[in-house]
């Protein structure tokens, strides 16, 4: 290794001179250098992320009074979580949402990737076009879906299914359908995104494997099963992880379409936190739930990394 460090006094490169510095000083330089590069990031993170996070975490042990001094309540906020039946229901909805959305988006994205793979011009244009939902803000998409899935018989989707003789559906106004319409919306928004990750995974598959399969006379389906799928396992793992992290925090998607209703059928952990923290102004409790959610997500990520390292090296 010929690693050297710039000294504060030297202007421009002066390679020979620097090697005369003592090894101890150089070691010190090597130790400090990474932190110098990290410093701008660490400053903004500390000031605008870590410090507010710690304050928020401390709030979870208080009954937050806003104007008057807050009252220390110890673990009361955490204990209250155990008896919160509304939160339990919301957690259940969130789990259904995460699992269905993840699987739905991944499956759709996989077929999109197979259909739109390749360098051909028209395929490239389609790939570009269908990415628009992924770069549009959630608030706008929510508004769009409220209109598309309007429960009136003249709503766009209702008119469409009317062509096949299906009666108008309630969609977002029907407690048994609302959550599924929201899941569909999230699939629609994230499938193009997942597709791009899959496309990247497809490119990295060794072409020789396909040739070998051709020699064996394998059908297209068998090739997908035995070559394509195993080849994009790393990509699938990324898609699942990203979707889990996003999914457990789902908020705007729900808040801007149904607000958690009808009949509480679309309440999620985050809409529940919002309601308790910002509408009922029980900020300490909301903070406690938030940090449990954070802890859970971090543990899942660590678990994912461990599993990934064990199985895919």
């Amino acid at each position: 290794m010929t690693e050297t460090q710039p000294s504060a006094h030297s202007n421009g490169p002066a390679p020979r001179k620097r090697s005369t510095r003592s090894p101890a000083l150089r070691r010190l330089g090597r130790g400090v250098m990474p932190w110098l590069y990290l410093m701008p990031a660490l400053i903004v993170f500390t000031w605008f992320k870590f410090y507010p996070m710690i304050s928020g975490f401390l709030m979870s042990f208080y009954e937050v009074k806003f104007y008057d001094p807050s009252v220390w309540v110890g673990l009361d906020n955490y204990r209250a979580i155990l008896h919160d039946s509304a939160l339990l229901v919301a957690t259940w909805h969130t789990i259904i949402y995460v699992i269905a959305e993840t699987i739905g988006a991944a499956v759709l994205a996989f077929f999109l990737a197979l259909a739109l793979e390749g360098p051909a011009r028209h395929v490239r244009i389609i790939r570009t076009a269908i990415f628009v939902p992924a770069i549009t803000s959630v608030a706008i998409i929510a508004e769009l879906w409220r209109i598309l899935f309007n429960s009136a018989s003249y709503g766009l989707v209702n008119s469409f299914i009317g062509l096949f003789g299906i009666p108008p559906q309630g969609f977002l106004t029907d407690p048994s359908q609302a959550l599924w319409v929201l899941i569909l919306m999230s699939i629609w928004k994230s499938a193009p995104y997942d597709m791009v990750i899959f496309l990247a995974g497809l490119v990295s598959i060794n072409r020789e494997l396909y040739d070998a399969a051709d020699v064996d006379g394998a059908s297209r389906l068998r090739k997908i099963w035995h070559v394509t799928l195993p080849g994009i396992v790393p990509a699938i793992s990324v898609v699942v992880m990203l979707s889990f992290i996003r999914g457990f925090r789902v908020f705007t998607e729900v808040y801007a379409t149904t607000g958690g209703g009808p009949a509480g059928s679309t309440s999620t952990i985050m809409t529940q936190i919002y309601k308790v923290g910002f509408e009922q102004l029980n900020y300490g409790y909301a903070a406690a739930v938030s940090f449990l959610l954070l802890l859970f997500t971090v543990l899942m990520t660590i678990l994912h990394t461990v599993l990934k390292n064990r199985f895919f090296g």
Binding site: L58, K65, F66, P69, W72, S153, Y154, L172, T173, G264
Partner: protein
């Protein structure tokens, strides 16, 4: 108890407070309203400054208002005065930013009607705000549609239901498409809209939310009267007589349905008269008193109040401003006659004024009559917001499940409301499950 956390917050904020210049004769006023209607408040403050020399800085927002107040409270950066719905008195007290007001210190306090003062009172008879505007609700009806179909002005629930059916099925706009609906209903859980909307019907049926006793409050949601009200409104929604998506709709969604000719009836306050005058037009609409339920006519009474916040440095200037708001001069500017910008003062709270002399529009008479004779304020519990959200969820669940058992759901809701009242320390001890 002085907590570490409080010190943590304080430490950061004291420095800020010191940095701010302390100008004695300027007060800050925050108002929950949109940009389009802020001109009315500006007109009031300009007149106030001209008269007293006290400058007023205003800030307004139609979104995130209570949350912004909560944050400002945490940072001790509160304005001197807040103008907000009278019903927010509970949530603002919960934030700890209100002190009781000695109303007798206001020169014009006796001119303000008793019923308006009720809205500013807590359960124990202390006053935490100064009412500056009152309002009740009435029924906007598409007169052209109604007359075309040859139906009478709806006076009862039955009339209302029949008119809704006709508006939905008999193509009142004559475009040959089945794209009209009886009435616009905001029954979303968001901010408890479902509860807010149902209030008229609960009282019309002879029921309500809570009964005030001498030892506190008793929940009365499990009564057959309340069940009747919910089953009436649910019938309208489930039979397709309300606009599509009613169970997810807020008032921001319902007004456009009436203006665009999707719905033919809308329960609304007088503040939207200007909007409705523009579209569909006053020649096509009429303002009727709300229909009578089994127990007669009733309507929610609401209002706007001015709140003096804790920590204000110039109490005398603030009191002068509050006095100006309830004076005939301030009230008249706030009514904003002759413009279609939403007025700050809907019905004046000052009893020395005659609304018809100023407004010269008989529609306002309907509102005034309703307010004075049939108005009901929401119960004055310490924290109404929590109960509104709770009952909003409960009512929304009933309204969106057409087959559910209403009395059973209401009994369940009643228990939950009792628990909330107990938490707030105002449940009548005689309550039994």
């Amino acid at each position: 108890m002085k907590s570490k956390f409080g010190q943590l917050l304080l430490g950061g904020c004291l420095a800020v407070a010191v940095a701010l210049p302390a100008s004695a004769e300027t007060i800050t006023v925050w108002s929950r309203q949109t940009d389009q209607s802020i001109s009315v408040l500006k007109a009031i403050t300009d007149a106030f400054t001209k008269e007293t020399g006290i400058k007023v800085e205003t800030f307004n927002s139609g979104i995130d208002f209570e949350q912004r107040l909560a944050r400002a409270a945490a940072a001790r950066q509160l304005p001197d005065v807040v103008i907000n719905d009278s019903s927010q008195v509970g949530s603002m007290r919960q934030m700890g930013i209100l002190d009781p007001i000695d109303r007798t210190k206001l020169a014009g306090w006796k001119d303000v009607s008793d019923i308006a003062w009720q809205s500013a009172q807590d359960g124990q008879g202390k006053y935490y705000a100064v009412p500056i505007s009152a309002q009740a609700f009435a029924l906007f009806v598409r007169k052209d549609w109604r007359e075309k179909l040859g139906l009478p002005v709806p006076k009862t629930w039955d009339d209302m239901r029949k008119l809704a059916e006709a508006f939905t099925h008999d193509d009142p706009d004559g475009n040959g498409k089945a794209d009209t609906f009886g009435l616009a209903i905001p029954a979303s859980t968001t901010r408890g809209y479902a509860s807010w909307y149902m209030s008229h019907f609960l009282w019309q049926a002879g029921g309500g939310y809570l009964k005030k006793t001498k030892d506190g409050f008793l929940p009365i949601l499990n009564t057959p009267e309340d069940a009747k009200a919910l089953s009436f409104v649910r019938g309208l929604i489930c039979d397709g007589l309300a606009q599509p998506g009613a169970v997810n709709a807020t008032t921001g969604d319902t007004l456009p349905t009436f203006r665009s000719g999707q719905t033919g009836m809308l329960i609304d306050g007088p503040y939207d008269l200007g909007q409705i005058a523009k579209e569909p037009g006053l020649d096509k609409t009429e303002v009727d008193m709300l229909p009578a339920g089994p127990s007669g006519v009733a309507a929610l009474a609401e209002g706007t109040s001015a709140y003096m916040l804790k920590g204000t440095t110039d109490k005398a200037a603030v009191m002068k401003f509050l006095d100006f708001l309830i004076s005939p001069e301030g009230q008249k500017i706030g009514m904003n006659v002759g413009s279609d910008v939403t007025p700050l003062v809907r019905l004046p709270v000052n009893t020395t004024m005659d609304v018809l002399k100023i407004r010269k529009d008989p529609r306002w008479k309907v509102y005034q009559d309703t307010f004075l004779n049939y108005g009901h304020y929401m119960p004055a519990v310490p924290d109404w917001t929590s109960i509104r959200l709770l009952t909003g969820d409960g009512f929304n669940a009933i309204l969106s499940q057409c087959q559910s058992d209403i009395p059973a759901q209401l009994a369940d809701l009643n228990t939950k409301v009792a628990a909330e009242l107990k938490k707030q320390g105002v449940l009548d001890p005689s309550y039994k499950e």
